[in-house]
């Protein structure tokens, strides 16, 4: 795959396949649900009004 990411099938059983993932240093691999939880939290923050500073006068 791109960016030096390698996926290897290490075993195949009746229940499914076992995969090994090799990624270069500095690349983070997230489970889908973890990624989605963080993205949702970031999006909520971007739209939040937590302790809003007074516009145009403070920052």
């Amino acid at each position: 795959m791109s960016d030096g990411i390698e996926i290897t099938v290490t075993a195949v059983t009746k229940r499914g396949a076992r995969l090994a993932l090799r990624v270069p240093a500095g690349i983070t691999v997230l489970r889908g649900e973890v990624h989605d939880a963080i993205a949702t939290s970031n999006a909520a923050a971007a739209n939040t009004s937590v302790e809003e500073p007074r516009k145009g006068t403070e920052a």
């Binding site: 973890v34 993205a39 970031n42 923050a45 939040t48 516009k55 403070e58």
Partner: protein, 169 residues
């Protein structure tokens, strides 16, 4: 530089105060340049204002506000993992910011303890780093007034992370 946004009005700042988060935030990968807006007097929440999207800003608290053991592992190790380290870097070379939000009715404050933003204050480079999902949540409820979660130290952040030089209407 000048940012004209809907949230804070006009913000002017030196380019050398920009914090670069090369990979962006999770879900916001194209947002890589921010300025740190310190909390106004009497308030505790600071903001990471996008340089390139004026209407986008993320409220943040200092990681210290969530306890002496947060984050685990510490900022030096997280900086190393994110390739933010410089030779001889110690904890004083990093600061940790936690993205916070409010949600629901009545409003509940939540903190994304799962993915703090670690900034090397010398290089002004940062990254949103994902911690152990078994230890931390992306939506941890908290109260600003709770004594066990003290306000961040604005002066500490101010001295180490960039902030807006001035704001005018």
């Amino acid at each position: 530089m000048i940012i004209k946004g809907t949230r804070f009005g006009t913000i002017s700042f030196d380019e050398n105060r920009i914090i670069t988060i090369a990979k962006g935030l999770v879900g916001f990968s194209s947002e890589t340049r921010f300025v740190f807006l310190e909390p106004p007097p009497g308030r505790t929440v600071a903001w990471l204002q996008s340089v390139d999207t004026p209407d986008l800003a993320f409220p943040v608290l200092a990681g210290e506000a969530f306890g002496a053991n947060y984050p685990t592992p510490g900022a030096v190790e997280l900086g190393r993992r994110a390739q933010l380290s410089t030779p001889g870097a110690t904890a004083s070379n990093f600061t940790t910011l936690v993205v916070v939000a409010s949600r629901g009715v009545p409003s509940q404050r939540i903190a994304n303890l799962l993915a703090p933003i670690v900034v090397n204050v010398d290089t002004r480079c940062g990254a949103q780093i994902v911690l152990d999902p078994e230890m931390y949540s992306a939506a941890t409820p908290f109260e600003l007034e709770t004594p066990t979660i003290p306000a961040p130290a604005p002066q500490h952040l101010l001295s180490q992370v960039s902030h807006a030089e001035s704001v005018s209407p």
